[in-house]
């Protein structure tokens, strides 16, 4: 919390300075100065069971009460877009970068202070500081360990259009992480090769699902040989069912577009502008304590340098695709049009 003690007065001072410089008597009103009211409203597009304990720790440490609204990232994004600038939410915690991009595009986010934004390495956070990366999640292939050896699993998703995999691959085409990966494919391989791949997948009798978790369940049940999902779903299932019960196994795809690392992130929304409590909450999410919490409880990659990844996972650096910047993934709309064209959406 040391950073907060520095940042808050700094923000206060700069706010006062700016409003003073503007010379507008109405804006020098004392009520305009950022003031902590000890309360912040968070829209959390992540699972309550995973986030609530972290929020409780934050409140214990800072005394700031957090009013949390839990729902899916997609429902909450639709909600904030509908609420617009009247949204009561100060902070938005998102399951993926795409939702944050949509909120930023709609002009509903306020910039993260540069000192804070710089704590997360480039490539895992927004370039314009409209939001900040919190955790990393790798795309993987989950495979049926009873049917396939690790050596038989493709090392690139590009192989999945081969006849050998017809009817054996499942993925959720409407899922944001899947669409981010296809966007990465467009960026890395070019528009036409990406569309050829998507058309090839559509023609290869894929099993289309609604969610990553459901896709993994199919592999675990022996209904499906390969699933394109995010890595932590496997760890969540293993935590519930026990690792011995996991028929599905994971294959990481270093260097492949199908193995990119996407992020969860947080943004300060319109209502949270100049609210030190909102800033404190975002700051906490990327603090060492919270990053360690994510490592232990959700099996995601920490983004703050110096915090170790969950045991047994390949190093984050080995998965980073050098040709890709996460901000290149903002063309999701074109990806969706492409998926519509090939008949997957």
């Amino acid at each position: 919390m040391r950073a907060l003690r520095i940042l808050v007065p700094a923000a206060l001072a700069s706010g006062l300075l700016l409003s003073g410089c503007a010379g507008d008597p109405t804006t020098t009103d004392a009520s305009d100065a950022p003031e902590s009211d000890g309360e912040v409203t968070l829209y959390a597009g992540r699972d309550e069971a995973l986030i609530a304990p972290l929020i409780a720790r934050f409140t214990d440490e800072t005394g700031i009460a957090v009013d949390v609204r839990y729902a899916g990232t997609s429902e909450l994004t639709a909600l904030v877009l509908e609420e617009g600038e009247r949204s009561p939410a100060d902070v938005f915690l998102s399951q993926d970068a795409g939702a944050l991009g949509a909120l930023a595009d709609a002009g509903l986010t306020t910039p993260i202070p540069a000192e804070l934004a710089e704590t997360i390495p480039d490539g895992f956070t927004s370039q314009d500081d409209s939001w900040i990366g919190v955790t990393g999640r790798a795309r993987v292939i989950a495979y049926d360990g009873d049917v396939l050896d690790a050596a038989q699993v493709p090392t690139s998703v590009l192989e999945l259009v081969e006849p050998e995999w017809a009817g054996r691959v499942g993925f959720p085409p409407g899922n944001a992480s899947f669409q981010s990966f296809v966007t990465a494919l467009r960026v890395l391989e070019g528009e036409q090769p990406a569309e050829d791949w998507a058309a090839g997948m559509a023609a290869n009798d894929p099993v289309l699902t609604e969610s990553n978790g459901a896709t993994l369940d199919l592999v675990n049940a022996g209904e499906l040989d390969l699933a394109l999902i995010n890595h932590y779903y496997w760890y969540q299932r293993a935590a519930e069912l026990g690792e011995d019960a996991m028929r599905a196994q994971l294959a990481f795809l270093p260097g492949d577009p199908g193995g990119i690392v996407n992020v969860t992130g947080a943004a300060i929304l319109t209502a949270g502008v100049d609210d030190p409590d909102a800033l404190a909450l975002v700051e906490y999410l990327v603090s060492p304590a919270a990053q360690q919490y994510f490592v232990e409880e959700t099996f995601e990659y920490p983004l703050l340098p110096g915090v170790d990844a969950p045991a047994g996972l390949p190093a984050l650096e080995t998965l980073v695709n050098p040709g890709l910047d996460l901000s290149d993934l903002d063309s999701v709309a074109e990806t969706q049009e492409m998926l519509v064209r090939v008949g997957l959406l």
């Binding site: 429902e75 609420e83 369940d217 969540q236």
Partner: protein, 506 residues
């Protein structure tokens, strides 16, 4: 019992106000779709998958409707006319699926049979949860119907089935078609059941467009298609119902049918849908809950809060639905004419709208018109009131329809004012039916999810939202206590409904 007299002005005004409030989601949808522009509408509708989505939605809704009628009418016949041991038990079992949200039934089945998917899986689960919509009102209509015409037909040499269709069927047809309409619209607007079985239909495409792509225009245009389908089906049902003759007066009843050797088969028919929709999925989830790791995550105070929230929101929603339904139901029961039909139609449309659209429309409406109410319990209760108004209207209409207008005339001639007559005569006589309608709204509201997620006060939970937050990460075991509680809480009104005897109220 309808009359061609002109309705009193106050009733008209109240009916129109209720209708206007119920039309908020529709107005929002029309305004937003119109705002998207003709070109974008054309582009959206020309997507290659759109015809397929419409086709699957129609086919699923139609086949669920056919199945609920094919199973529901014989079940209702057994409940109303056959001599059954422990009759109350079977009636309660027939109502039990009302307490089961489609996503819960689908979820329980998937936990046991992960390979279940596609059209027939969705058809199976939706048919089993929609059955009471047909069985309950049909059984109630059968209890009130007479068998005199059947007997006459038998004496003229017809077989028992043929006699049933010429004698009893015309008397129960309005109840059957009203129930079939509810089953059709429920399936059309259902999301959870179809999504879990990975069947792409209009509602899943709406959710996908809202969710993954934040493409709200496309989502709303598809919702517009859903409303047009719902509108066409509602109008068709109204035509069907108008062709049916008025209910026959009380008359001779045949003695309860002795089933003899067919009794076991009959009991199986009555028990199987409830077993499939409620008992099996719940048993599977409870089995998972006994897992030690899952029980560790159970938090009693969180559970108690969710339970209290569920009951309070559902009760408030039921009150609002009934208040809105009273003038509309009274108009529909007592008066004829095009304007009455329009009011009645407007009140049924919300049933064809996906919950997420109703949720978003009320977000926009409450932020614009009553911002200080936004994210309060009142807005959520109002959403329930609007969403389930059609069910309330059906119950109010049929129970007021059973009050003979002559009684009201007598009351007026004895010096009571119109309002006094309404309160002291009509409302009192119709009360059991109206209470049953309120129960039905409450039980439906308890399991509602998409609008609840959007509109509930921040920081509050219901059993359904808690269940959702646990099923989302596929924590089957942790979800089980909430699933079980939802089932138990919703079973009580469902049980009370099974004892109720008025037709067309479900």
């Amino acid at each position: 019992m309808r009359s061609s007299r002109r309705p009193p002005r106050a009733l008209w005004v109240a009916g129109l106000v209720a209708c206007a409030l119920a039309s908020i989601p529709l107005v929002y949808l029309v305004a937003r779709v119109a705002g998207a522009g003709a070109e974008q509408i054309a582009v959206a509708l020309s997507r290659p998958r759109v015809p397929e989505l419409i086709g699957t939605s129609l086919l699923l809704s139609a086949s669920v409707t056919v199945a609920t009628v094919a199973i529901g009418v014989p079940s209702a016949f057994l409940l109303a006319r056959a001599a059954l041991p422990a009759r109350g038990l079977w009636a309660a079992l027939a109502a039990l699926p009302l307490a089961v949200p489609s996503y819960l039934a689908a979820y329980g089945w998937l936990a046991a049979v992960p390979g279940m998917q596609g059209f027939w899986a969705a058809w199976f689960v939706l048919t089993s949860v929609c059955l009471p919509y047909v069985t309950l009102p049909t059984a109630a209509a059968l209890r009130l119907s007479t068998t005199g015409f059947d007997d006459l037909a038998r004496t003229l040499g017809r077989g028992p089935v043929s006699a049933f269709f010429s004698g009893t069927w015309p008397q129960i047809a309005p109840a059957v078609s009203a129930g079939a309409l509810l089953a059709f619209l429920y399936t059309l607007s259902d999301f959870g059941g179809v999504a879990l079985f990975r069947l792409p239909v209009l509602t899943t495409a709406v959710h996908q467009a809202f969710g993954a792509s934040f493409d709200r225009d496309y989502a709303l245009i598809l919702s517009g298609v859903l409303v047009l389908i719902a509108l066409a089906v509602v109008l068709a049902e109204q035509l069907l119902r108008r062709r049916s003759p008025a209910r026959a007066p009380h008359g001779p009843r045949a003695a309860p049918l002795r089933l003899g050797a067919a009794l076991p088969a009959a009991l199986v028919l009555l028990a199987v849908p409830s077993l499939l929709s409620a008992v099996v999925p719940t048993a599977i989830l409870v089995g998972r809950a006994l897992d030690a790791a899952a029980l560790r995550s159970f938090d009693a105070s969180e559970f108690a809060e969710a339970l209290a929230g569920t009951l309070a929101f559902a009760a408030a929603g039921a009150v609002i639905a009934i208040v809105l339904a009273l003038p509309i139901g009274a108009l529909a029961a007592r008066y004829r004419g095009r304007r009455v039909r329009i009011v009645e139609t407007a009140a049924v449309i919300p049933l064809g709208l996906p919950g997420i659209v109703i949720g978003l429309s009320l977000v926009a409406f409450s932020l614009t018109v009553v911002p200080w109410w936004y994210q309060t319990a009142l807005v959520l209760a109002f959403a329930y009131g609007v969403m389930f108004l059609p069910k309330a209207v059906g119950g109010v209409r049929s129970s007021i329809g059973l009050v003979p207008p002559a009684l009201e005339d007598v009351s007026r001639t004895l010096g009571r004012t119109g309002l006094q007559t309404w309160w002291q005569v009509t409302a009192r006589l119709a009360r059991p039916g109206i209470l049953a309608a309120a129960l039905l709204v409450a039980v439906t509201a308890m399991k509602e999810l998409p609008a609840t997620l959007l509109l509930r006060p921040t920081g509050t939970d219901t059993l359904a939202t808690e269940l959702w937050s646990r099923t989302d990460v596929a924590a089957y075991g942790a979800a089980a206590p909430y699933a079980l509680a939802l089932l138990v809480v919703a079973t009580i009104p469902a049980f009370l409904l099974s004892r109720h005897r008025d037709p067309e109220d479900v």
